[in-house]
Amino acid sequence: MDILQLVIVGMVVGSIIGLGAMGLTLTFGVLKFANFAHADLMTLGMYLAFFVIVDVGIVGGHVGPFSFGWGMIPAVLFAWGGVAAFTVGVDRFVFRPLRRRETDFLSIGIASLGVAIALQAVVQAIWGSAPLRYHSEIHRALTFAGGLKIKPDQILIIGLTLAMAVALYLLLHRTRLGTAMRATSDNAPLAEASGIDTERVRIATWVIASAMTAVAGVMFALQSQLRFDAGFEFLLLPMFAAVILGGIGNPWGALVGGLIVGISQELSTEWINTGFKPGVPFLLLILILIVRPRGLFGSETQWST
């Protein structure tokens, strides 16, 4: 296939990975543990949106050239709220007690694996194992000069990812809460000693990360399908690869990392068996760990842009 076409598809996939990775890097940076349930939180988000659009039946006709209707707006908001409530709840009853006890952060990661396993099974128990879609109609692609094809949904995916990245940047660098999040990430005990209520900052971090997580999950389902097992199979490793490529705690880095992962994954199919595609993010991960483990944009301090 045309290289340019592959790059475009790669940008779409990379945006989804990158947006998910932005949420992941945020919690990784502030809460300091690798959340292995992150990909399954995306799955939860995509199914919560399905609940609103299909189970409840808020479709809202058809918006312009997109594959979905106005119902997508309440669906995404519901997904965000649901993921946020779930993560804040899990933090309250699982992660916070472990934090209080100064548990090794690897053990917190393992607890998050338990969350991932249970959450995935719950999603499967409710919505079943068969892949689903929000809408069944055919979604026509736009054709551009040179035969390049791109679907309106895909343009939206790239655009919305960029918009959310800008919004996150402004939040982190232009608001008191955002500065407090970066301060907590830098040095949580000092933040506490400065009079910052770090527990509230952590809750805010979950809520903000949930927005990106839920939207990225819905985007994944638009681009591909709703799959209960998307987490461990498709999403988790590429997102972690993006996070580490960009430097832990660096949202811009995570976005760029996601694009690198997505584009190289798609481009690789030009030369190698498509079955090897899942290996591409792994190789990128190993490469960056060997060459520059702090990530492409990780300086000695994180959050720098």
Partner: protein, 366 residues
């Protein structure tokens, strides 16, 4: 939605234990079949205990090492590929050679994954191991002429089958005795290793890497050694599995196996070899026993029993990390919990949770 051909997956959605027992010479003895499976899992749990329990390195790709061992042993011992098959190997070697080959393969994979990641932060290895199983599975499915793709390998020879026939004893029992014997040997090896000075270094690494480094031990080298030992034993467990089942395919090796082994180690007690074997028994019983009571459950649960048991192990992991991190049996005596800190405690960071993050690339405190 459930695969029809049962036991394509060890821990997976197939009602794993019942059908193959029927094919194994007719004696439908659930207990014997279960104990054999539990023994294979116990070997994998001991292996993970070397890596996580004693050294504190996370391996989320247990099933990858398991699968590499299974495939290697199968390819070494199988007949040459038939007309409609295509795979490398088929060397018709003796089964014990296959098992040794499976161990070597697991160890080599551990070396390949561990070398670039083990000198880095602990969680980087965990992340790197997430994908190995998925990648190896998709390669096995995609590459023609490697392992017969999704068609799988069939007719893997069973150990001591002729012996059982000659003696007229139930084959399932022979297999159970054989598997238990291997488990005993693995237990003795692991116990010996972890009780030795080598094992004490591993625990020192886990407790406080900075101190271990400051007394001049080459921690990375030790961590790689422990990772390779664990990988090799996982390969052995996979090899035994392959020869027990006789048929393996890429999808036999899904992540549930990894999760199950983790649950066994955490429930039994990280860092306690007897504990993780007990964990294999207890967790295995929940996992394989739950489907047996499917009929008794109310309908909406009964039809979801395979999801139910996954929810159960997820919650078991969380519950044990939260309320009983030492597991059922607790840890064997260990090195001092309060090793002195490098910086004299002038900073605000407490020990434990944060101590390993500090001063490492990409860590929180710059």
């Amino acid at each position: 939605m459930l695969p029809v051909d049962a036991f394509t997956s060890l821990a997976g959605e197939a009602p794993a234990l019942l059908p193959p027992l029927i094919t194994f010479g007719g004696s439908v003895n659930w207990t014997v079949g279960f104990l054999t499976t539990a023994a294979i899992f116990a070997i994998a749990a001991l292996a993970l205990n070397v890596q996580w329990g004693y050294t504190g390195t996370i391996n989320f790709g247990v099933v990858a090492f398991f699968g590499v061992g299974a495939y290697t042993s199968a390819l070494l011992t199988l007949d040459a590929p038939g007309e409609f098959e295509s795979y490398v190997g088929g060397l018709e070697l003796a089964i014990p050679i296959g098992w040794v080959g499976g161990m070597v393969a697991g160890g080599v994979l551990a070396l390949l994954v561990g070398l670039p990641t083990l000198r880095l932060r602990d969680d980087f290895l965990a992340i790197a191991t997430i994908g190995i199983a998925t990648i190896l599975r998709s390669i096995a499915n995609a590459q023609e002429g490697l392992v017969n793709r999704a068609r799988g390998l069939n007719g893997i020879p069973r150990p001591l089958e002729g012996f059982a026939n000659d003696m007229g004893v139930d084959y399932d029992l022979v297999l159970l005795v054989l598997t238990s014997g291997v488990l005993l040997m693995v237990f003795l090896v692991v116990r010996g290793a972890t009780a030795s000075p080598w094992g004490r270094v591993l625990r020192a690494i886990r407790e406080n890497e900075a101190t271990a480094q400051s007394v001049g031990k080459m921690t990375t080298s030790y961590r790689i050694q422990s990772f390779v030992l664990g990988g090799a034993l996982m390969g052995l467990a996979g090899a035994i599995f392959a020869h027990r089942i006789g048929t393996i395919a890429p999808d036999s090796f899904d992540n549930l196996t990894t999760f199950l082994v983790w649950t066994m180690v955490i429930v039994g007690g990280s860092g306690n070899n007897r504990g993780v074997m007990l964990g294999a028994l207890v967790v295995g019983f929940v996992w394989f026993g739950l489907p047996l009571i499917q009929e008794e459950l109310p309908d909406f649960l009964g039809t979801r029993v395979f999801m139910l048991r996954r929810i159960a192990i997820g919650l078991l992991i969380i519950a044990f990390v939260l309320t009983r991190p030492q597991g059922l049996l607790g840890e064997e005596p260990r090195v001092s919990r309060f090793a002195p800190r490098g910086d004299g405690g002038g900073g605000l960071w407490p020990t434990g949770l944060w101590s390993r993050i500090r001063g490492q690339p990409g860590g929180g405190a710059a």
